[in-house]
């Protein structure tokens, strides 16, 4: 039996701390601030929240920690602490939609916070030993993405210049976003001459390391209509789980985004040509190429020439990562929730200098682990429902 959820659930409020370097503020404090902002955004309060969704890189018990800190425990009717890396929050979105539609809860809070940058080396990630990879000294997670990039180059003739154009496009967008962490000039030469970390990926191919907090409030569409902000409806979602260790990825040049993307498009009942705006989780430059190809925005293997043509830069045919992405805006450990926040910004028409005129449908895609988990969400303005 299929329960049709298209448009039935909406993002009612969003919160973004925009604090990319905040010494003295813990990850939970970033998360709490973002949660308050998201609830205030739509005119609700913590006392209205009866469902909690969260994942954390340093805590294996995020629901318990956060419910206690926000005082949510006594009222919770649904919760999910699924941890699949940076895509977790889009898995949470899908989980919350079902719970809301089934009437198991009424106001769902999806939230995240990190102090990865200001805490520096003091952060201890949760243990997750991989004894069949550990002896070889790969740099985690970067070398795994480098192995995917090397294979993509081998199969499709992708070059370091192609990858560099992903970083350049992100920077062109971040210059239009006053909240982006990196907004300085960046040249092709600078990207190509950046320090090599694990061939073919350099520091300039890698996302930023920042602090940050984000949250979204979800309700059923009928309730969202009566709240403060224009609801942004969830038209469809899809998830895919592929592997844990990079050597177990079935095809290093093709991600499971082709599964999550196809599922989300089908659920939303839209085609790629209907999509006005795209967010893809760019932990590394190769991610943007892989996801644009695997979601179907260009032919498989042609992501490099597509990006180098200027297609995803300001003024191009497909606006991608308009906040500047993980490469130039912010990347607090797990970035997935920020893709949704920028999609909402664009659909509300509040994105300022980077606003995509008349954007009605946005696709947000998140990745977790080492291309391990993929999740796609398609969002729309009320008149797309």
């Amino acid at each position: 039996m299929t329960v049709l959820l298209r448009g039935k659930i909406a993002i009612a409020g969003t919160g973004n701390t925009r604090r990319w370097y905040a010494p003295g503020r813990s990850a939970f404090e970033q998360l709490a601030e973002a949660s308050v902002l998201a609830l205030e955004d739509c005119g609700l309060g913590l006392k209205d929240v009866d469902a909690l969704y969260c994942a954390h890189s340093t805590s294996g018990l995020p629901v318990l920690n956060i419910a206690e800190r926000l005082g949510l425990g006594p009222r919770l009717r649904h919760a999910d602490g699924t941890m699949v890396g940076g895509a977790s929050f889009l898995f949470h979105l899908r989980s919350a939609m079902s719970a809301l539609a089934a009437g198991q809860c009424d106001v769902a809070l999806v939230c995240y916070g990190s102090n990865q940058a200001s805490a520096g080396g003091k952060l201890v990630p949760m243990p997750d030993p991989q004894p069949y990879e550990e002896p070889y000294g790969a740099r985690y997670p970067l070398s795994s993405y480098a192995l995917a990039a090397a294979r993509h180059m081998h199969e499709y003739g992708t070059t370091r210049e192609h990858l560099a154009h992903v970083a350049l496009a992100a920077r062109q967008w971040s210059k239009l976003n006053p909240d982006a962490r990196e907004r300085g000039d960046l040249s092709l030469d600078e990207v190509l001459s950046a320090r090599m970390i694990s061939d073919p990926l350099t520091k300039a191919d890698s996302c930023l390391v920042t602090d940050g907090g984000a949250a979204v409030v979800l309700t059923r569409a009928d309730m969202a209509r009566d709240l403060k902000r224009m609801p942004v409806h969830v038209l469809g979602t899809g998830i895919a789980v592929s592997h844990r260790q990079i050597a177990a990825m079935p095809d290093l040049a093709r991600s499971a985004a082709h599964q999550s993307g196809a599922a989300a498009l089908q659920a939303a009942g839209v085609s790629l040509t209907d999509i006005d705006h795209v967010m893809v989780y760019d932990a590394f430059t190769i991610c943007t190429l892989l996801f644009l190809e695997d979601l179907g925005f260009c032919a498989k293997g042609e992501g490099g020439p597509f990006v180098a043509s200027g297609a995803i830069s300001p003024g191009g045919s497909l606006p991608v990562n308009t906040n500047g992405g993980g490469l130039s805006c912010n990347h607090p450990g797990m970035y997935g929730l920020f893709t949704l926040i920028e999609s909402v910004e664009q659909l509300r028409g509040t994105a300022g200098a980077r606003q995509i005129e008349g954007a009605k449908i946005s696709l947000a895609h998140a990745n977790g682990g080492v291309l391990s988990s993929q999740a796609t969400a398609i969002l729309g303005t009320p008149d797309t429902v």
Partner: protein, 125 residues
């Protein structure tokens, strides 16, 4: 009453034990015949539980490769496609700058205290 199919040390410990005896093994499925690595309790292809360790041929080709850079220099990390089918992360010995995708390699067990499977170039082995 426990199920005797799962008696004894688990596949991770059994694999490590074989490695300590100088054998690089992969599992073969008695149901579908597929080889798998890393070892597991079930066949990830068919779900069968009749898995047997056999020495790998050691033959493989580099499926993907990277050079991890540090102040001490570069070191290779590769994903090797084994002749039996599965892939594994490992390292190709020798100059990391000359490891390429498609390179034919042969497995060797390196290190006494903590043995690891590494690969040499086939033409030099």
């Amino acid at each position: 009453m426990t199920d005797p199919r799962f008696d004894g040390p688990g596949p991770d410990a059994a694999w490590e034990d074989l490695l300590g005896q100088g054998v690089f093994a992969v599992q073969f499925c008695g149901n579908c015949g597929i080889a798998q690595f890393p070892p597991g309790v079930v066949c990830r292809h068919c779900g069968g539980t009749d898995l047997v360790f056999q020495a790998a041929s050691g033959e493989g080709t580099v499926y993907s490769t990277t050079t991890v850079r540090s102040r001490e220099g570069g070191r290779n990390v590769a994903v090797v496609q084994l002749a039996e089918g599965p892939r594994m992360m490992s390292r190709v010995e020798g100059d990391p700058e000359t490891v390429t995708i498609g390179l034919a390699v042969v497995a060797r067990i390196s290190g006494d205290e903590t043995p690891v499977v590494v690969f040499d170039r086939k033409e030099q082995a």
